[in-house]
């Protein structure tokens, strides 16, 4: 909402200190989003006074003047020092007040500079009306009234400039979408009276009683009263369409609109001044063969079309309301008029609509058509039906005044439902208790009255019934232009915001015995984050949005992923669904890094993935943790050469994680190409805790990496956070620290490639008996010449220990030999010597 301060100050005194005024607006709930200066500004032109006038030593018609411009020119002591100005005009005397253009002032291309006129320094110019563009008088300097304040900017003194505030009016305050409402608000802010603009004599209506009464020419039917509380029509004849007078055009511009013609501008003026949308029809386009207009307010028909004022053809639905003649729709109620009934240069008779339409229907119509107008904005917030006839009168008077028209007697007024003012209680003790304040009754009453409420103090009996002492209960009649004042709390807010929230003493809630804590799940998630970071991964966040083809690009099996959550109004195709996996987002980030020369990338993210299902309103949301790793943990350094990432780096991170979570029965199960098509075959594993699948780890399939424009190899994992939390254990059990020494025996087993580490450990564990306390793989070695093709050597350090005694060599050897025999038998291994 744009508010011209010049215009506003016609109705209420506006504080001179603009910054303080804006601050007060901000603090009381009217956000100031900007201030623009409009009109002539005359920078560097100020009010001055001639303190000395002497003849120019070298000219017989010029004068050397000393001109006091107040604080605009000061000496070293900070006191005003007159400017010396050489002037050729003859009409002024010492002590005259005049407009002075100081050095730097500009008039079109002409700029005032310090100069010498016939050898005498001149620091500016005494201005004539013509030089200022204010008139044609070129004969002499413009002489200002004697009380003009010295030093004041000339434009301010003459009120030539205007400040336009761009105000953020919150949706609960339709009343503030008008100059009258803002005048009332400013009045309440400063405890000042304001003048009702309706008192302007221009709104005094003179009907021509000789003309046919309006009711004889116009009839109105509201077919669905739920959509229109009140509809009025007036007719103005013999109008002459033309441009608006300057004062009106200026105000229309100041309000941020464009002047169109005198009729439209007059309706817009009422809109901006009182917040009442109006529409002017060309009466002749509505009337039937008998010269009468029958207006019907009705739901649009399915498939009905209307060309609106902006030239767009609109497809209407029955949820929208139209203003129609019996033949056709002529306007979209509350939103925009129709093109073929608009006022044109040929119009001679105007039918003026002043009405109110349903908030919800207006809002939906506006959203369905993507059409927001000054009208729809006000109707969807609520327009008061009570003053409509008075405002229609005011508009008719204005139209008649500026278009030369005459107003037919009477108004057609169909008032289906009158909004009644609401009576509310105001319990002062409760108000003060809830605000934590001690605000006096007098202030409360004064404030509510200034906002337009009628306030009375309840009698003793009623007060007692409301748990209030005598005089502490108010009855407040909320005005109908404030649809937001429906409940007692709404009044509390009004008093508090005007009293000033800053004046309330800050306190802390007194409730005792609260303990702030994290849930178990949150503690686990914190641990997961800590462990991943300790493993060298960097947390990132990517978009929850995804592109429909992302999973195909990743080659991921979609069998168990349900349907994607689809956005109806995405910003773009790349972000039109919700992600079903975090990996594509991380691969995009990986590609971003690689394309920016960052080779070593270790990223992880925890976040939600979304799975929709047919027939279900809401999707399943699952928390995941995922990571991608490419390059190495760092660049080669003087004392370290980090190895390039492979499968085992991903697996190692998960091993750390599951150790920290004390996850039981952890197992990594190889995934086949069919089971995990997005992973490189042979470098893919499922992560399990007992029978619970936690997720997967592997190297992303090189073709998938390519599809995301990243460089392979990429190690990745994606785990289900809920499953991690569920399977995690609070703590591991204590195990005795060994008391007796261990005997370590190394063994190298040559086996076929398909014999896994897991298998060998299984067999050794079961064969090693109670004495075998640890198995550590320390070497894997392949050599076709020495070991044979398809063979590998697996070297383990086996530790034998008894919790009861120091073992003898014989005891260890016996157990070790038994183990070797069993391992060889079960796996076909040969012991390599």
């Amino acid at each position: 909402m744009k508010v011209s301060l010049k215009w506003l100050s016609e109705y209420v005194e506006v504080p001179a200190d603009l910054k303080a005024f804006c601050d007060r607006l901000d603090l009381t709930g009217t956000g100031v989003e900007g201030v623009e200066v409009a009109g002539a500004t005359f920078d560097k032109v100020v009010v001055g006074q001639i303190v000395e006038k002497k003849a120019h030593p070298d000219s017989d018609h010029m004068w050397v003047c000393q001109v006091n411009v107040g604080q605009n020119n000061v000496g070293e002591d900070g006191n005003p020092e007159p400017l010396q100005i050489v002037c050729g005009a003859q009409n002024f005397n010492e002590n005259d007040k005049i407009p002075v253009a100081m050095v730097g002032a500009e008039f079109g291309d002409f700029k005032i500079k310090k100069s010498k006129l016939r050898g005498v320094v001149s620091n500016g110019m005494n201005c004539s009306e013509r030089e200022l563009g204010l008139g044609s008088d070129h004969d002499g300097i413009m002489i200002l009234p004697a009380d003009a304040p010295i030093g004041m900017p000339f434009a301010d003194y003459m009120q030539l400039s205007d400040k336009i505030l761009d105000l953020e009016i919150t949706p609960n305050r339709p009343d503030c979408l008008s100059m009258k409402g803002m005048a009332r608000e400013v009045g309440a802010m400063y405890e000042r009276d304001f003048t009702d603009p309706l008192n302007d004599p221009i709104f005094n209506l003179g009907e021509n009683q000789d003309l046919e009464p309006t009711a004889d020419a116009v009839s109105v039917t509201i077919s669905d009263p739920a959509r229109c509380d009140r509809y009025t029509a007036r007719v103005i004849e013999n109008v002459k369409i033309g441009p608006s007078p300057d004062w009106l055009a200026e105000r229309i511009i100041a309000a941020g609109a464009r002047p169109i013609n005198n009729i439209v501008d007059a309706t817009n003026y009422i809109l901006f001044l009182f917040g009442q949308p109006l529409h002017a029809f060309d009466f002749d386009k509505l009337k039937n063969a008998e010269g009468k207009a029958h207006i019907v307010v009705r739901p649009a028909e399915e498939g009905e079309k209307l060309v609106t004022l902006d030239g767009e053809e609109r497809d209407l639905t029955p949820d929208m309301t139209v203003i129609a003649t019996p033949e056709r729709a002529v306007a979209l109620a509350g939103v925009m008029g129709g093109l073929d009934s608009e006022v044109t240069d040929e119009t001679t008779t105007v039918l003026l609509e002043a009405a109110t339409f349903s908030r919800a229907h207006t809002s939906r119509t506006s959203r369905n058509l993507g059409l927001i107008s000054e009208s729809s904005l006000r109707y969807e917030r609520g327009v008061d039906d009570n003053p409509i006839a008075a405002l229609s009168d005011a508009a008719a008077a204005l139209i008649a005044e500026i278009s030369g028209g005459t107003v037919r007697p009477g108004i057609v007024d169909v008032w289906e439902q009158q909004t009644e003012a609401v009576m509310l209680d105001f319990r002062i003790p409760r108000f003060n208790a809830m605000m934590g304040a001690h605000i006096e009754r007098d202030y409360i009453i004064e404030t509510l009255k200034r906002l337009g409420c009628a306030v009375t103090i309840a009698d003793i009996e009623t007060s007692k019934a409301a748990d209030c002492a005598e005089g502490e209960l108010l009855h407040v009649l909320a005005p109908t232009f404030r649809p937001d004042l429906e409940r007692e709390i709404d009044l509390y807010e009004e008093v508090l915001r005007l009293y000033g929230m800053d004046r309330i003493e800050p306190t802390l809630p007194a409730g005792a015995g609260r303990i702030g804590k994290r849930t178990l799940a949150e503690q686990r998630i914190e641990k997961i984050n800590d462990t991943l970071r300790a493993s060298g991964l960097n947390e990132t966040v990517t978009y929850s949005f995804a592109e429909p083809g992302d999973l195909d690009k990743l080659r991921m099996d979609k069998t168990d992923l349900g349907m994607p959550v689809e956005l109806l109004n995405p910003l773009n195709a790349e972000q039109s669904i919700m992600r079903q996996s975090i990996i594509p987002g991380l691969l995009h980030s990986l590609a971003y890094n690689q394309s920016h020369g960052v080779k070593n990338v270790q990223l992880y993210e925890t976040g939600r993935v979304f799975f929709a299902a047919d027939g279900k309103k809401k999707p399943k949301e699952k928390e995941r943790v995922a990571a991608v790793m490419a390059g190495a943990m760092g660049d080669p350094a003087w004392n370290a050469s980090p190895a390039a990432f492979d499968f085992f780096d991903g697996k190692g991170v998960i091993e750390n994680l599951l150790r920290e979570l004390a996850t039981p029965k952890v197992r990594f199960k190889a995934l086949s190409a069919e089971e995990a098509p997005h992973l490189q075959p042979g470098r893919a594993a499922q992560v399990l805790s007992g029978g619970t699948v936690l997720g997967w780890v592997g190297e992303i399939h090189p073709l998938a990496v390519d599809a995301f424009d990243a460089n392979a190899p990429v190690v990745a994992f994606e785990l289900d956070l809920d499953a991690l939390v569920k399977t995690s254990q609070p703590a591991r059990d204590y195990v005795d620290v060994p008391l007796f020494p261990a005997v370590t025996m190394d063994i190298a087993l040559v086996v076929d490639e398909d014999v896994t580490n897991e298998k060998l450990i299984q067999v050794m564990t079961s064969a090693g008996g109670k004495l075998l306390s640890s198995i550590q793989l320390f070497d894997v070695y392949r050599d076709a010449d020495r070991l044979g093709a398809g063979k590998k050597s697996m070297a383990y350090a086996l530790e034998y220990r008894s919790p009861e005694k120091t073992l003898t060599t014989e005891e260890v050897n016996k157990q070790h030999e038994r183990l070797i025999k069993k391992v060889c038998g079960a796996t076909g291994a040969e012991v390599r010597s």
């Binding site: 603090l27 800050p506 970071r533 943990m633």
Partner: protein, 353 residues
């Protein structure tokens, strides 16, 4: 030469050798040669039976004195030499300690989550617990139960992402839906009031979505932290005191807060809170656009309709709610110039924090 003279001469020669020895190895050689098992001095003791009985006491005494003197000389010299050798070795082992250390890379926390953690800590310290809610919400939890019924003008304050409703329900407005991406974490308030026992003191961090094209100061996906208190006797002063404490904890004790009246459908009275600019201390500068204040959060007293929706009697209980934009804090505290960096995953950005 008598045996005694021989021993005396050996003693003198050995002491001289010891004094001349340059390394501990040489000393060891001397020790073996003279006082070792088959050393020359040891030999005299071994061959004592060949010494005339009347001289034995004298010879024995002389040999023992020589042995003691040699051994203590050896010991003393060894100490001296070992010290020097250790010195020399350490000198040789000296490092350029400005070379970088050997460390396992530590990962980093994302800035937004780091700030979220920080905020959560502040509120847990004053007795709040953490709650969460779904990101895909129904209209009811995002709007209606928050006192913004269908077609309420306040809904247009936020541009909503609508989701295809697979239940078959339809809406009156083309392109809208009963299912949506939450535009605010405030829906968690409703879940909490439905599910939790009173009193309630919670914060609810989480992602929210609004249909804003990504640019340096907007993201279609960002983070909020919702706060909700419902208890007996909660006042607007309590809301002020709580947020004042929060701002001081987050931004510094010297920072001031300012409450500007505002409008949110689910709180009344409502306010926006500014914190004084940390750069100009309220004087007005470019960072705060000349106002001296930086907008930091929205808040208010829980609207009685919202309490009633969840079956709480507003005559008995009152409460307050607030919502902090985490990205906003990131901008104010860390001067992040372009919010899009928060979602790019650029390692050079992530590893700064």
């Amino acid at each position: 030469m008598s045996v005694i003279d021989e021993v005396t001469a050996l003693q003198a020669a050995t002491l001289a050798e010891i004094a001349a020895a340059a390394t501990t190895d040489e000393l060891e050689a001397i020790r073996i040669k003279v006082v070792g098992k088959s050393g020359s001095l040891t030999g005299y003791l071994r061959s004592m039976n060949q010494v005339a009985p009347e001289e034995r006491a004298e010879v024995g005494k002389t040999v023992n004195i020589a042995r003691n003197q040699i051994e203590s000389a050896l010991e003393a010299q060894k100490k001296a030499l070992a010290g020097a050798e250790l010195e020399a070795r350490m000198q040789a082992d000296a490092l350029d300690i400005t070379l970088p250390g050997r460390a396992q890379q530590m990962g980093t926390r994302h800035l937004i989550n780091r700030i979220t953690d920080e905020i959560a800590e502040v509120f847990m310290g004053i007795g709040y617990s953490v709650a969460t809610g779904p990101e895909v919400e129904t209209d009811y939890y995002n709007f209606e139960a928050l006192n913004a019924p269908a077609d309420h003008p306040s809904r247009s304050m936020q541009d909503t992402f609508y989701v295809r409703d697979l239940s078959g329900d339809t809406t009156n407005v083309k392109g809208e839906s009963d299912v949506l991406l939450r535009t605010q974490t405030s829906g968690v308030q409703v879940h909490a009031m439905e599910d939790q026992e009173l009193p309630i003191y919670i914060i609810a961090p989480g992602k929210v979505y609004r249909r804003d094209v990504a640019d340096p100061s907007h993201l279609p996906q960002f983070n909020q932290i919702e706060g909700l208190v419902v208890d007996k006797g909660i006042t607007f002063g309590d809301l002020k005191g709580t947020l004042d404490y929060f701002c001081k904890q987050m931004f510094g004790e010297e920072r001031k807060t300012r409450f500007r009246a505002h409008y949110f459908p689910f709180t009344e009275p409502s306010a926006e809170v500014d914190v004084s600019c940390g750069i100009c201390h309220g004087e007005g500068c470019r960072f705060c656009k000349g106002t001296g204040w930086l907008e930091i959060l929205g808040c208010g007293m829980v609207d009685p309709n919202v309490l009633r929706y969840s079956g709480i009697d507003p005559e008995v209980y009152s409460g307050f709610a607030f919502g902090v934009g985490v990205e906003r804090v990131a901008c104010l505290k860390y001067n992040v110039p372009d919010l899009r960096m928060l979602l790019e995953g650029d390692m050079r950005f992530l590893r700064q924090f």
